[in-house]
């Protein structure tokens, strides 16, 4: 019997067997959203009409015996950073309030072509800058495990929608951890593919050399199925890799890590990491060893500088990218009284349209790129990026994949870190090196921390374009932990699972 708690793979099987329809599944999820989203606030916009239309179209095709993709008819929640034609797309910012894109992002085009049903747009930190979804101009999202806590960020809406069973699949984007850290703190699965693996066309840019869209799900196999739908070369993104998509679905089903070398990164544990997080991380390591993998300790000394380099590179690219919000072609316009100059209107619009974190990063990036400081800040950060890539290359010479906790702590309280940007930035300390090097990264749940009973994420990093390796290790670890627990971790979420 399919329910909103089923995996997308099981829902797809039920659709194929004819025991349910896409319209029925879609309606079931809208019912759930109506029931819980007032408290969770995962969604910014629901496209009920469009979704039910798409669902009916897929049902009709199935009825007529047409060949359909593996996720045809499955509902999905889309992060509001991706352009969807005709559907309000805000990026969590007042700047884009009311904007309806005239085109689809390539990710959206591929979802539609695969028959995936887009339920609506999910909440996020403004322009994807943040680790808690508190920077959304439309109010925070609440963690389904404890509604007083953050769901991570920037993709907190997508992760919370999964954990609250409002959608079986979601799309996120990850510039410094915005898919993986929300997955970690909500007990879900999130994957940042290799940079260039998924098209950035129509993904509203924050930091172009780091941004990458990827799948969010409740199981590793579901993430793999979604990964294969959205990945692949796109000539509309000049940084898209023109090579075959790694076979991640096959890898997720292997359930075998015998003889694989798992590199445990020395620099990503210990100081700054919550004790309960490290305990569960070590449970994950034990499970991999029991499954036949070999652990090797690797050292990546430059990781200690990754966060500092990231907070120069990302704001620098952000200050350049967000210059496009000039109040002339799209977005809001403030103070145009017929007397003021374009520049004055631009300044007033950007004052009103951007929130504090976005302004902070634009100013920081403008500083780092300004003449006289460029070499000392942006230039030095680019050198650190080279050193990080060398660290990874050396580590991958010793191990097939690298592992660490995804985030240093479990979900913190809403409001707890909002006035301390440096403390907030530390949430991404273990996820940022992956973006800087452009490699793949996955987070999957590895248990609940003993101190607070909240989910802990286990991060797996794979070499560029070897995304299959993290799926192979992730799928095996997930199966081993499920056997130990007896039930999926989300069954233990106290607030919403019981309803």
């Amino acid at each position: 019997m399919t329910s909103i708690k089923s995996s997308a793979a099981d829902m797809a099987a039920a659709l194929a067997a004819g025991t349910t329809t896409s319209v029925e599944l879609t309606q079931l999820h809208y019912d759930r959203i109506a029931q819980v989203d007032e408290e969770v606030h995962a969604f910014l916009y629901l496209d009920k009409e469009g979704a039910l239309e798409q669902a009916a179209a897929v049902d009709a095709k199935r009825q007529s015996g047409e060949e359909l993709g593996p996720l045809a008819g499955i509902p999905l929640a889309l992060k509001d950073v991706l352009a969807q034609k005709g559907v309000p797309t805000t990026c969590g910012s007042k700047m884009l309030e009311g904007w309806r894109p005239p085109y689809d992002a390539t990710v959206v085009t591929r979802l539609k072509e695969a028959g995936v049903v887009i339920l609506g747009k999910t909440n996020m930190d403004e322009f994807a800058m943040g680790s808690s979804t508190e920077n959304s101009a439309y109010g925070p999202t609440h963690n389904p495990w404890d509604l007083t806590r953050i769901p991570g960020g920037s993709g907190g809406g997508s992760a919370a929608a999964l954990a609250a069973f409002e959608a079986p699949l979601a799309i996120g984007t990850d510039t410094g951890g915005s898919i993986r850290q929300p997955a970690a703190v909500t007990g879900t699965v999130g994957v940042k593919p290799t940079y260039g693996g998924v098209s950035r066309y129509g993904l509203i840019a924050f930091s172009s050399s780091l941004d990458q869209a990827g799948p969010c799900a409740r199981t590793v196999l579901d993430a793999a199925l979604l990964h294969e739908v959205i990945a692949g070369h796109d000539e509309r993104d000049s940084t898209s890799i023109n090579a075959p998509v790694p076979q991640v679905v096959k890898a997720a089903k292997k359930l075998d890590v015998k003889g694989m070398k798992i590199g445990v990164v020395r620099e990503l544990q210990g100081e700054g990491f919550q004790a309960g997080v490290l305990e569960r991380f070590h449970d994950g390591l034990d499970a991999l060893v029991s499954a036949g993998a070999e652990l090797v300790e690797v050292s990546c000394p430059t990781f200690d500088y990754a966060l500092a380099a990231y907070y120069l590179i990302a704001p620098s690219e952000c200050s350049s990218n967000l210059a496009r919000f000039d109040s002339m072609r799209y977005g809001i316009r403030v103070g145009d009284n017929g007397e003021r100059s374009a520049e004055e209107v631009m300044k007033l619009t950007r004052h009103e349209g951007f929130g504090p974190e976005v302004k902070r990063r634009i100013i920081l990036g403008t500083y780092a790129l300004s003449s006289g400081y460029y070499d000392a800040y942006y230039g030095s950060a680019q050198k650190v990026r080279t050193l990080l890539m060398r660290d990874f290359a050396a580590a991958f010479a010793q191990a097939d994949v690298l592992v660490s906790p995804t985030a240093p702590t479990t979900a913190f309280k809403i409001g707890e870190q909002v006035d301390d940007p440096l403390a907030m930035y530390l949430n991404d300390i273990a996820t940022i090196p992956v973006n800087m090097a452009g490699i793949g990264g996955m987070s999957l749940p590895c248990g609940l921390a003993s101190e607070d009973g909240l989910p802990v994420g286990f991060q797996i990093m794979s070499p560029a374009m070897r995304d299959d390796l993290m799926y192979q290790v992730g799928g095996t670890l997930e199966a081993a932990l499920l056997a130990k627990w007896g039930a999926p971790i989300l069954d233990k979420a106290p607030v919403l699972a019981a309803r």
């Binding site: 260039g196 120069l312 100059s341 631009m346 300044k347 004052h351 100013i363 500083y367």
Partner: protein, 98 residues
């Protein structure tokens, strides 16, 4: 000593085309000082013999065939414009008094 003054922030805000209140400038100057203090450590390892990396994958000069293909209509391109006139974006005055 602070790395960045309130006047520096005001100058940066001007460059970034963001108007800011006095209170915002004061607050941001303090925060920038803290953040720059924390990120400046990249200089400790950025030796002169390390080449910079701007991009994680080595791609450059990707071009496509120069052929006409479907694109947005003027109406679609203007659909999000705050103001428009005669199939064009309508903007406030750029060159000052006429």
């Amino acid at each position: 000593m602070s790395a960045i003054s309130r006047d520096d922030v005001a100058h940066l805000a001007k460059l970034a085309r963001i108007s800011m209140s006095d209170a915002e400038l004061d607050h941001l100057a303090q925060e920038m000082d803290l953040i720059l203090g924390a990120v400046a450590r990249v200089q400790e390892v950025a030796a002169s013999d390390v080449p910079p990396t701007s991009h994680p994958i080595p791609v450059n000069n990707i071009v496509r065939e120069d052929v006409v293909r479907p694109s947005l209509t003027p109406q679609e391109a203007l659909s999000g414009a705050p103001a428009q006139s005669e199939d064009r974006f309508k903007v406030p005055q750029i060159l000052g008094e006429e």
